[in-house]
Symmetry: C2
Subunit: 211 residues, 2 copies
Amino acid sequence: MASIVLCDIGNSFLHFYYAGRIWRENPNNISLKKPHIPIYYISVNPNFEKKLLDSHKTCINLEKFIQLQGVYQGLGIDRKAACKAISNGVIVDAGSAITIDIMEDNQHVGGYILPGISSYQHLYQCISPALHVPLDLSVNLYAPPRSTKEAISFGILKSIILMLKHTTQTKKMYFTGGDGKFFAKYFENSIFDNTLIFKGMQQALKENNII
Amino acid sequence: MASIVLCDIGNSFLHFYYAGRIWRENPNNISLKKPHIPIYYISVNPNFEKKLLDSHKTCINLEKFIQLQGVYQGLGIDRKAACKAISNGVIVDAGSAITIDIMEDNQHVGGYILPGISSYQHLYQCISPALHVPLDLSVNLYAPPRSTKEAISFGILKSIILMLKHTTQTKKMYFTGGDGKFFAKYFENSIFDNTLIFKGMQQALKENNII
C-alpha cells in the first residue's frame, strides 16, 4: 500500500494517507507530492478537489468504485468510505458536521447529521452577541447549568451525547474525525480510529482489484 | 391592565401585549402607539430597543423590577420574566434560540440553551451546500433516516426532544415562543402559553406596586 497516496477531501481540510501515516493539509497550501505516486481520492468539496487536480497530474477519483449496500439516498462519499471499513456498528465522524451511520451485516441501515462542536459554537454567536462565550468542554452534564457558558456547553454536548447513546444501544461505536477522540471517551463500547475512511478506501481498492 | 402596553424586545421581533391581545412587530417598522399609554418593556437587543425609544416617548424599562431567586449568572431578562410567571415546572421558549429553564418553589435552579429550528437549518447550509435542503418536520423519529432531508430533520428535532424529555421527567412543561406550539405536542404534561413573558412582567409590576 506504500505505492499510492490516499486523500479524503473534506469541507475544511484535505486528509492524506501514505505508508501508514496520516496528516492533513490546508486546501490553499497543498504540498507537492512525488509525481510518480498516484493519488486515489474522494471529495465532498468540488473547489478543494480542483485545487488538488490543478497541482497534481495523477489523481484518481475513487467515488465510483465505492459501492455500499443500503437504502439511504445521497449518502456522502466520505460516509460511504467510512462505512466500507466495518461490518457492524455505529460510525461517528465528528468534524464540522457530525455524521452518524449505522451498519448491520455490511448493510447501511440509516444515519443522521448533527452540527459539529465548532459549528454549534459559531451558531450561538450568530443568534445573539450575548451568546458569544467560550465553551467549557468539561461542563457537568448531570446538573442544571448556572451560567451562559455552562448553558451553551451543556446544550451542545449533552444533546449530541444523548443522541449517540440513544442510537448506539448495545452496538459498538467507531469514532473518527477531529472531535472523535473527545466523544469516544463518553462511551464504553467504543474505539477511536482516524484511519477509518482510508481503511474503507483500501477495501474498495481491493474489491475492485485496483491494487 | 388595559392602561399600559407591555413589550418584549427580542432578537428578531418586538412582541407587544395590550388589553389581552398579543402581536409582534418588525423592529424596522414599529407602529406608533397612543402617546398617553406608557410602554413597559424588557429588551435583549439594544439596537431594537433604541428604535422603540426613538419613536415613543413614555417607555419604561422593567429590567430592574424583575427579581428572580436563583444562582444562575447572567440569565437573560426575557427568561427571567417568563420564569416569574410560574412557581414549579420547566419553561421552554422556542424561538431563534431555545431556552430551557427549571423552576422549583419560585426558585430558578438552572437552565440551558439550544439553537432554534430555523437557526439549526441555517447552520447546516453554512457547513456544506450539500446540506442545504428543506426540513421535514414530520420526519419519523423512531426509524433511521434514509436521505439527507430526513438525516438533518431527524438530527435537529430528535436532539431537541431528547434533551427536553431528559429535563422534564415528571415536571410540568410550559412552552412559549414561535416554535413552542410545535414542540408542546410531543409532551403530555405540557401547555403552550404565548403570554408567559407578559404574565411574568405583570407579576413584577404587581410586586413592585407599579400598577
